[in-house]
């Protein structure tokens, strides 16, 4: 009977009164099972407060009415928004951005820092932590072209072409709002409004609102978003079945931390939202649900046990 796989389900089958006669005999008059029985019966009598169904339905009705109103507004005042296209682009690859410019206007952000920048044409840029943005002021009116390493959300004033250059490619939009992110390893594009075509090597996809695409080392997968803004503007990053090593790399970048993740965990899948508030909170929200333990040593290095 040693190492019998049935043993792993024994207690559950005991509870459901589904044991074999031999198993039942083996348990016999074991007093500890009587105590366990008393406890499980007690738990069965516990309840949660009844849910207020009428209140819930009322709340739903209110939410539905609001949604319909919003639609009407969009249709009557939303002309500018129709021309606008909000696109999130996450572009990753190795960049030689350091070499590009010398006399340029350069903006850089450190850990947990964010910067709002107004460009000469009144376009607005929100630069996320650990990112760098540069452009040539003298040529701005002509080119409206920026070089980005990292992640930024753009609210572009109307006008002609507007482009963001990265080594993975150039993003050109005719619309007004988009987010660009550029780090080693991934290209991800999310479209909020309008439509976007993404071409990487021989693969091409057209995104509609709420669609997103990720090229992870050339492998394409799609996702959807319900958000109106990139996650980082709301203080967190969201992962959906990402390899754990990818999540760890993102934490290392964001908090300039060193995290030692054993190779055996690299390909575990993580889904969830990770807050940027502190390294400690971010680690908790990743590793507690994964049931992995971690330790932070005195130098701030993190090891996963």
């Amino acid at each position: 009977m040693e190492n019998n796989p049935d043993k792993e389900t024994l207690l559950a089958r005991w509870l459901a009164d589904d044991l074999t006669p031999e198993e039942r005999k083996a348990i016999g008059q074991d007093k500890s099972f009587e105590a366990l029985k008393a406890v499980t019966e007690d738990i069965s009598s516990w309840q949660l407060p009844a849910m207020d169904i009428d209140k819930g339905l009322q709340r739903l009705r209110a939410a539905q009415t609001k949604e319909e109103k919003k639609t009407v507004q969009l249709q009557s005042f939303g002309h500018a928004m129709r021309i606008a296209a909000a696109v999130t682009l996450l572009i990753v690859g190795y960049v030689g951005w350091q070499l590009y410019f010398s006399g340029d206007q350069v903006y850089e952000t450190g850990i947990a820092q964010r910067l709002d920048i107004e460009l000469p044409d009144e376009s607005m840029v929100a630069l996320d932590a650990g990112s760098r943005l540069s452009y040539d002021p003298s040529d701005w009116d002509n080119s409206r072209s920026l070089v980005l390493h990292g992640e930024a959300y753009f609210d572009v004033a109307k006008g002609s072409k507007f482009s963001v250059e990265t080594s993975a490619g150039t993003v050109t939009v005719l619309g007004t709002q988009f987010n660009v992110r550029h780090f080693p390893g991934i290209l991800a594009v999310t479209c909020f409004e309008g439509s976007v075509q993404v071409v990487s090597d021989d693969e091409s996809i057209v995104l509609k609102p709420s669609d997103g695409v990720v090229f992870d080392e050339g492998e394409m997968s799609t996702f959807i978003t319900d958000n109106a803004l990139p996650d980082w503007q709301q203080g967190y990053t969201r992962f959906s079945r990402s390899n754990l090593i990818r999540v760890v790399k993102e934490l290392e970048r964001r908090f300039k931390a060193r995290i030692n993740l054993p190779v055996k965990y690299h390909d575990l899948k993580y889904s969830g939202a990770v807050p940027f508030t502190s390294l400690e909170e971010a680690l908790q929200s990743v590793f507690v649900p994964m049931e992995l333990e971690y330790r932070i040593d005195n130098d701030g290095n993190v090891s996963i046990l």
Partner: protein
């Protein structure tokens, strides 16, 4: 790095009609969450029978009456926060309304659970879960019952803490069985795992309770 070309352009936005009745024209094929539950429009799209259409308010309301509390309970076992669980139920039903023309009536339970679970995964999870139940049976003081102490406030508090500290999967399966009286088979179907997996989870949870009982009894003696 295999990426060497990126081409991106944005066309003029054509605002989609957001009324649910037209949604079947705009099904988002990348929507992994809901795809399994959708009527996929083939060459001819056949609308649901009126008496089963989730777009009918009476049908939708009756689904709410039947499913909301069950769903709320499962979400509570995951997050340990009653109002968070009820918010997730609310959000899930809004999604159901928006997709009412596409969700099969028979699959509505699975749709709601999957949507709610995905919404839950998207939320920032609180570090510590705590569990709190209403107990209808008062603490027994009947000394003829050899286990009356196991229904004392003190032990029940320990028990709730122990349940709260179980891994999410174990806690969920165990409480669905105890509180919602679901069979292992029903739990397996709901969580989309095998029955054996459910039995393993529940056995582990019971093993934890055995240890707790032993500790409590040793402490008393």
């Amino acid at each position: 790095m295999t990426l060497n070309a990126l081409l991106c352009f944005v066309g003029i936005l054509i605002k989609q009609d957001v009324y649910p009745t037209n949604y079947h024209e705009d099904i988002n094929y990348s929507d992994e969450i809901a795809l399994n539950f959708l009527h996929l429009p083939t060459t001819s799209f056949t609308p649901m029978k009126a008496d089963h259409s989730l777009c009918e308010e009476s049908v939708y309301n009756s689904v709410y009456q039947e499913q909301a509390e069950k769903l709320r309970n499962i979400l509570y076992y995951k997050c340990g926060d009653l109002s968070q669980a009820e918010d997730l139920v609310h959000e899930s039903f809004i999604k159901l309304w928006n997709k009412c023309a596409e969700v099969l009536y028979d699959k509505v339970g699975g749709f709601l659970y999957t949507v709610a679970n995905n919404l839950f995964l998207d939320q920032i999870r609180s570090k510590k879960v705590s569990m709190n139940f209403e107990k209808t049976l008062g603490p027994q003081t009947d000394s003829e019952d050899p286990y009356y102490q196991l229904r004392s406030d003190e032990f029940r508090q320990n028990l709730e803490d122990a349940i709260a500290s179980l891994p999410e999967g174990q806690r969920e399966a165990f409480l669905m069985n105890r509180i919602d009286k679901l069979t292992y088979k029903e739990i397996a179907a709901q969580l989309d795992i095998s029955q054996t997996a459910v039995e393993k989870r529940i056995s582990k949870a019971l093993g934890r309770l055995q240890v707790l009982i032993k500790e409590f009894e040793n402490f008393k003696i």
